[in-house]
Amino acid sequence: MPAHVDGNALAGPMSELFAFDVTVATAVCGSCGDNAHMGQAMVYVSAMGHVARCRSCGDVLMVLVETPNGTMLNVRGLTGLRIAPTG
């Protein structure tokens, strides 16, 4: 498996779409129920896009693909995402 980085790397591409900071949002993994800040996820970055995996079970939480025709965001692996109040 190629080396991964942290969920921190999702901040840029996600900030193009949403006003909240994804790295401090709490993700609930659809596979194992782990609760963690997205900043703690394992993120695999390639020319294709970003794949975020659960730090606990390794299953896919989120896939984000940026193309010239728009961004594809798949969050099927999440049961929920709790977004912290800003400020």
Binding site: A3, D6, N8, E16, F18, T23, V24
Partner: protein, 236 residues
Amino acid sequence: MTTWRAATVASTARLTSTARSIVLDVPGWQGNLAGQHLDLRLTAEDGYQAVRSYSIASVGPGQLVELGVDKVVDGEVSPYLVDEVRAGDQLEIRGPLGGWFVWRPADVGPVQLVAGGSGIVPLAAMIRARRTSSSVAPFRLLYSARTPDDVLFAPELDNAGDVEITFAYTRRAPDGFARKPKRLDRTDLAELTLPPADDLTVFVCGPTGFVEAVADGLVSLGHDPARVKTERFGGA
């Protein structure tokens, strides 16, 4: 929301034989927290684009933003930034980004920083933020570098006041240095970092393999995984 905007290279300075400080002039920059990064985008003449993340070394007001980039020899972007980019060149950035791997001057608890190679960049920003805010939070840094010549921001770290700094080397240590060159192991972490405590925050940054080994070692020493914050730079 954050999106791409133009930045101009204001100045560059060599940090080591493989690393360079790059100061960007970003009109409208609103400042950043210590530990945040930005995404940098280069566009070739044929339209091909490459995006990479870089931690921000600077803190405080103004529209000048400093990065510290170390060259990955076979890399696509870093050799250009270290060897070619010049004052006046234009590129695009989006940021500042991320609120997880950050230290805020209002945080009063003790802080342990652990850097591997260029992983010092966001941690140097934290040391700068602590100084400019006159924070008295206890700070300790353990910095693993290949050799003494590979230390980024060396003069600044030598004058970091009451931040307790320990260097460790992996390939060559200075003459008379007690610890022989090797990677950080669990014994080093036990001896050279603050012990687990409820109010302690640990920031670990560097190549992915380094961060992994250090974070695992710290957790095995009893640190709460939730208080060990990591920033993996990629690579082996």
